[in-house]
Symmetry: C2
Subunit: 605 residues, 2 copies
């Protein structure tokens, strides 16, 4: 145990396409805070990290899954090789992109940061959660911590001396964060006594950092009920003098996947002596502070989803090129015809292109989101422009998280199908990808929570301004391509889908106004899917138009461009036509599941 | 290890509804070969087996998964408790339904046999594969064996002294059965020397029977290439004198699921001394003989799929009734509103009813199939009537296997979603159901092989007579209900779907005739799904009409009937409207995946 084969496979060309051809990240590089960053620097990071991830993280992915985590003497023992890999991550500076320069980091574009997250997560999803969560905690500390807190907590997180976790969930407070019961009693100043049990704490402990910084949502005695009464506390495993704080890992979960990420029960204050520090100086700001981390984590889950889906695709593709089985359909009547690689079979090609189009689509969606972030963070913009970019990010977060994770699970399952029986065995990585992917639809806000966020908050945000701006951008693309004959049929499908999405958005408004509140959550998931698919259809077609120009100009890379065009065509003709159909179903709003009595759902014999 | 909780949950009421209200199995009972069978006998078997399965098989399901199988001294060691359970199965006579009375069995209706298969498989999928495969071997022996072979092999299989396996797959012959290379050289009479390696042999060995009867597809020296040159051999692990035959279990696979079912590599004749016996007296009849077992196994996989999907549904349902989280949507603005069981949330109800409608639908599809078999086997019919029933079975087998297994995987995944994070842990059975279910889309002919069977063989079988008879029955149901106002909107959806299916069947004919052969496999899976959904929509509505009559007549069981009606309505309004949409996509036949070059699929960096 401890090392095995690397199965991680990616095509970095796609990032280079998205960054520099489609989303024009280069317009932001070489100036202002990104003065030191050019195309070459971005590519160097991607290439170097990919190589390192394949060398170090990839070989630990399967072995980590088989070995899992365990508890010894009150601490989590991670799989063989993880501690060494952790040290290398920080020594090599692979997480410095997430750290501002004033704290010694590289402070590069967010788009690049997320790309590096995909690479680390694709090579080893479980491993990448440890530094990923630490970085989320770092962000909160840097943004909301006092100067003294930053001094105390940021450095160990940046150097990898400490790790971090986010502690929201309790036995009775999962999706319902507002039901949190963990108690905080003021001792003095920013010091509080913390008492409570948190569950499902990802990367909750490890054997490579002495200290673990837990960010804990808790409630002070006088605080109101619900999320508004929550405060956020930093609760380190070790006190400042190095003694043990009253924080104990109770147990770890045995799970379907991400087995090398320790999912912990963490008990705070069992002995009545757990000391935490209020983040910042004000109580009852916890949910807003935690949201920074949750947003980071939601984009992170979309990135994770992409990472396994993409590697599942490339593994399936390589297998399909090598594995011979059956004769070509052209020789279907001749039992003696030569056997061919299965990529020649139409159904295998269909599966592969359905995977590829969604992988390309999800990465496009993610880079659209991160580019908006980069414009917001690094662009020379007025307030209105800033608000526009911020609004687009808000709108896209639930899509990236929920559509991404649902599709990733399906893509990984399709990868198993391409492999056939071999894919069901642990001889190949795809069954693990599938098991790992399932949690992504659940944690950091279930996909229904994402859908509620979309229809209940994001659509109507700022009086609908973000959605309107989105629709305007969308319309501009369609208008700009109205004479495009190469993609005329695809653009027609896109326009139909866009109209369907617009109609459904109005339908939600109608339900809100008429008080038919139950129809909103009932239809929220369906709408999120339609909205995401339509957006992906748009971005893939935008990419295809660019790719076609590349082919026409003879600028090389014809295979890549052709693949991008095929993704767009496949998606336009196989996925987009379902959107208007979904809109019909949504608007008719079948109420059967609301009307059925609980008893009629059935009775166990 | 060895025992745990029973999580198996079923509602036997549904079988009683399907048998005696919808498909009128009782018209066949109490006469002819079913003289000793009445409603009461059928119910007694179901109730008794369910109780026993919950007591004995259910508690071994989780522990069997965790423990898995291993090889010791050349034999497979199954998980704790399996050997004891095997003995009880045969002592209690739970497999006697699959045995004709002349061989000491109970010879009951096939519908009941399949129902008992669901129960055993639902309680413990991996375990049920051992007796299930044995029974498949028994069927082949009884149907194709010589009198002497029946004498030799049937009794140990019936008593549970021996188990059986089906050995088709080889390293280079999976979906492509015709590429089988295992060699058979005649020694004398029916005795042959067998040499070759078979892989993915389910229930390939065990530690509860001394002898294992392997049914092996192999090729004699002069035989033609392809499936037509294959012969079938009985290759026992032990020779008649009790000495070891030259049969060795090489290794077992480490898999995503069904871990307690030993998936073996079996080597025949490594020492040059493996003796097999030709089944029957003629060579090159192997594929036809094996097809009996494959048909049995395909229906078995549909049954397995139903079994885990159904138990996943009931586990999710019970959890949803118990687990409190969040406030009712009616109080969405009040953070202090009381917490409610999650079954009150619209999205949870949507998930549950989407699961229930498909579970009800798959069971209806299966009982339709088995009722046709029962009419064929036990009805007093002329040849034309027999052919009709046989034809409907042929048509339905690929639907039950492929649609069943695809939906089962999705239903189990949805069950995890209902549980949230808890469902991802091994504290509940749903993650195992999901892992177990994935193989069902692959083995016994991948779901694409099923789709090819449907469009390439079954649609056109007997000049299309089977499909036409199906459409006639379908049309008769619609005609009989043309004035039904209660389900008018649902019937309208059904009719639209039926027309779409009919249109697509003609489209396939067109592609065959115009030589656009690649479009057939390209669209086969899509068509199978449409066809299955439309059939399920029909059967659910037929059930709903009966349930409504039951409610109107006040014949009790109102909850059950209401649930059946809700299933039909949900399916009609959420699934059936996608069928015509799929038909549009199918007919437009997007060729992007055929046109893309292999290189354009992408290149790993």
């Amino acid at each position: 145990m401890g090392t095995g084969n690397n199965y991680y496979k990616a095509d970095l060309r796609d990032y280079k396409f998205l960054f520099f051809e489609q989303f024009q990240l280069d317009t932001l590089l070489g100036q202002g805070e990104l003065e030191d960053w050019g195309k070459e620097e971005v590519e160097t990071v991607l290439d170097g990290l990919y190589q390192w991830s394949c060398d170090v993280l990839g070989p630990l992915n399967g072995s980590g899954d088989r070995q899992g985590c365990r508890i010894e003497n009150g601490r989590v023992i991670t799989p063989d090789g993880f501690a060494k890999a952790w040290k290398e991550v920080y020594k090599n500076g692979w997480r410095e992109l997430g750290v501002p320069p004033e704290h010694g980091g590289q402070g590069g574009p967010y788009s690049l940061y997320v790309a590096t997250d995909e690479i680390q997560s694709g090579a080893n999803t479980s491993f990448a959660m440890y530094p990923g969560l630490s970085e989320g905690v770092l962000n909160v500390v840097l943004k909301f911590g006092t100067e003294e807190q930053i001094k105390k907590y940021a450095k160990p997180l940046i150097s990898g001396k400490a790790s971090g976790t986010m502690c929201l969930t309790e036995p009775n407070a999962g999706s319902d964060v507002g039901s949190n019961r963990t108690k905080a009693e003021k001792i003095e100043g920013t010091k509080y006594k913390i008492t409570g049990t948190k569950i499902f704490i990802s990367a909750g402990d490890n054997d490579f950092t002495d200290n673990v910084f837990h960010l804990v949502l808790a409630r002070t005695a006088e605080a109101p009920v619900g999320t508004k009464g929550l405060s956020l506390f930093m609760v380190p495993r070790l006190n400042e003098d190095g003694s043990d704080n009253d924080v104990a890992v109770g147990s770890i979960e045995h799970k379907m996947g991400i087995n090398a990420s320790a999912t912990c029960v963490v008990n705070f204050g069992e002995g009545g002596n757990c000391v935490g520090e209020l983040v910042g100086t004000e109580e009852e700001k916890g949910i807003r502070q935690m949201f920074l981390m949750m947003n980071h984590a939601r984009i992170g889950v979309g990135t994770q989803s992409l990472s396994v889906a993409s590697s599942a695709y490339f593994n399936a593709l390589e297998y399909a090129k090598e594995r011979k089985q059956g004769a070509s359909i052209k020789n279907w009547k001749d039992p003696a015809a030569p056997r061919v690689p299965i990529i020649e079979h139409p159904d295998v090609r269909r599966m592969l292109l359905s995977m590829k189009s969604r992988v390309d689509g999800l990465r496009s969606l993610l880079v659209k989101l991160t580019t908006h972030t980069d414009h917001y963070e690094f662009g020379q913009l007025d307030d209105a422009q800033k608000a526009y970019h911020k609004g687009q990010v808000d709108l896209l977060v639930p899509l990236v998280k929920a559509w991404g994770s649902d599709e990733a699970f399906d893509i990984c399952s399709t990868a198993i199908q391409v492999f056939g029986g071999a894919g069901y065995t642990q001889d190949y990585p795809v069954e693990q990808y599938c098991r790992d992917a399932k949690i992504m639809a659940i944690y950091e806000g279930t996909n229904h929570i994402q859908a509620l966020d979309l229809v209940g908050r994001k659509l109507g945000q700022k009086g609908g301004a973000n959605f309107q701006a989105y629709m305007k951008d969308f319309g501009a693309f369609i208008a700009a391509n109205k004479d495009n004959e190469t993609f005329a049929s695809e653009l027609a499908e896109l326009q139909k889908a866009q109209q369907a999405v617009g109609g459904c958005a109005m339908q939600f408004l109608g339900w809100f106004q008429s008080g038919e509140m139950a129809l909103v959550p009932l239809s929220a998931n369906r709408f999120l899917k339609m909205f995401a698919e339509t957006t992906v259809g748009w971005l893939l077609l935008e990419g295809a138009v660019i790719a076609q120009k590349g082919i026409d100009a003879g600028t090389g890379d014809k295979d890549f461009y052709e693949g991008r065009i095929a993704s767009a065509r496949f998606f336009a003709h196989n996925i987009l036509p379902t959107v208007a159909n979904s809109a019909d179903i949504l608007r008719k709003a079948d109420r059967s599941c609301l009307e059925i009595s609980d008893a009629a759902f059935g009775k166990v014999s």
